[in-house]
Symmetry: C2
Subunit: 335 residues, 2 copies
């Protein structure tokens, strides 16, 4: 008996190196899932450009970094297809077909896009490519016949939009040529930034990258947000909102040890310098092998390019088949 | 001494067979220009789908008709590149790049799109692909390095939009990798519909197609709008707004003869039956050879497909080069 593997599409905007938030939120899961699923990871350079149209370096300079990040954490290109969005023309072509099936007002109602537009402060100058990126995502998902997409709660409207398009195309076709997708919802809470204020972001300087040096890790942990009212070691400290403990929960395997530390800190008598030292040791231990692997992958850029090229070739095959199916629905397979 | 030929991009949405309005408005000009210019004609099936997302037959069933129309009027595939938009992936890819450089509000301000949205009565459900089609047109124009685009006055905002994109890309590149375009403005006034009311349109049944049968031509001329107050032959008739005379002006080569007819009609004593008979003879004479050629081309669909395929291959070469140039600007030429 062969079990039919389910198909996952996932990926990252190539707008910066990956960090601990990615590690805990998606990368570890991908390393697991690659053994049991057909998994494609899209390095989403075109999507990265939707809000970097005039700052393309931010995207192009990070493509190979992101691939090195993948390999360093254990994503295996013999198990996972790693591919580059801009080198898969059927994705752009499918986007053009799907664009005629989605109204502008439907896009404007998309809650994810709405909140992103607010947070990016585009004002009246939202790039067309940004408003329409849910259509491009639908192209990405359907082009690989993915039926599973790992997302956070906030991304569910994207999958709804994709499935609306899938149903329209299937209705036009009179049969199911495209696959509806379901979310794989992450059960890991989003990792806070080191300053406890925002989403992690490289440009904010509040994230610990997978390639962070020993010194960068040390500095990041030392400047981490704790309990601002915990002024004396003897005084009781607050655990909630204390980023050091959130990180210890996420990265320290010895849950009992962390529970004891929390009790001690809450009762008083445990200083932030000590908790930070414990967290730093833990992060240094996790990140040292990742950093070394990442460096050795980045030392051979040609090999990184080869891996990306091979994955992209395989991705193009699948995506071309789906495009052909869609073009047949439109009667455009005349040659 | 070799003179450098200028490059023209033109084309038609493949949403219906071409008619006398196309013949007088653009086709005759193209037959002339193909001898002195590099001319590419795009069969714009993807653009046709922007407002036919759920009625794709209207597009796919007309592609080869339109190619047959071109050949029948004398467009020569050895002089003009005739190509199919949906088979040129770089057009979709360039559209994706350009989409990030144009804001939604800029698209909404486009006067051509504004008036088309009104006339098509989309209301709140404008397809995204329709709002963004000026971006796709910019991709079409720039992909062939066209510096000349034949347009009517109402299409000038499209060329403005294209040139804005060209300047943005060239600024990013730090050099002129894309070519700005200029209009070739048509001096031929738009041919009215046979009912004198609207733009010609196949769905309105008020156009005379290039492939119209003898009987269809006869019926169309007989039902043509003239002077509704010209009830008796003896009475003076009005020339202005009289579609029969507008068509005689457009299609009868003997201008003196038409001038005499007009004087006679205005003075009284010339019946509409007579003027219609004269016009019908003239149109039958023009359309008979076009109809025959059109039929013989349509009798060999494989040959039509071959012509379109060859033109499309050549178009893909040019468009791929331009895409490569744009991708280099974005640093995305890593493999």
């Amino acid at each position: 008996m062969t079990s039919v593997k389910q198909t996952i599409l996932t990926g990252d905007r190539a707008t910066g190196p990956l960090h601990l938030g990615h590690y805990i939120g998606s990368l570890q899961q991908r390393v697991e899932l690659q053994h049991t699923h057909n998994q494609t990871i899209l390095v989403a350079d075109m999507q990265g450009l939707t809000d970097n149209g005039l700052t393309p370096d931010k995207v192009s300079s990070n493509i190979l970094n992101v691939v090195a990040d993948y390999l360093a954490v254990g994503i295996d290109p013999t198990l996972t297809t790693i591919c580059l969005q801009s080198k898969i023309p059927p994705l752009a072509e499918l986007t053009m077909f799907y664009s005629n099936l989605v109204s502008v007002s439907r896009l404007e109602r998309n809650p994810t896009v709405k909140s992103e537009i607010q947070s990016k402060q585009f004002g009246r100058s939202i790039p067309a490519g940004f408003l329409t990126y849910p259509i491009s995502q639908a192209a990405d998902i359907t082009a690989f016949r993915a039926n599973l997409v790992p997302v956070g709660d906030d991304q569910l409207p994207m999958l709804e939009q994709t499935n609306e398009i899938v149903r329209k195309i299937n209705r036009l076709a009179g049969k199911d040529i495209l696959v509806e997708c379901k979310p794989i919802l992450s059960h890991v809470p989003r990792l806070p930034s080191t300053d406890g204020k925002n989403k992690m972001s490289k440009s904010m300087g509040n994230a610990i990258n997978l390639g962070a040096s020993v010194k960068e890790i040390s500095q990041a942990v030392k400047s981490m947000y704790t309990d601002p009212n915990h002024l004396k070691v003897e005084a009781p400290g607050q655990i909630e909102g204390n980023v050091v403990f959130t990180y210890l929960d996420a990265f320290c395997d010895d849950k009992q040890y962390v529970a004891n530390l929390k009790a001690h800190y809450a009762a008083g008598g445990l200083g932030d310098g000590v908790t930070k030292k414990i967290l730093e040791e833990c992060l240094q231990e996790i990140l040292a092998p990742i950093r070394h692997k990442r460096e050795s992958f980045l030392a051979d850029k040609q090999e990184l390019i080869n891996i990306l090229r091979q994955g992209t070739e395989s991705a193009n095959q699948t995506a071309s088949e789906v495009l052909d199916d869609v073009k047949a629905v439109y009667g455009l397979n005349i040659f």
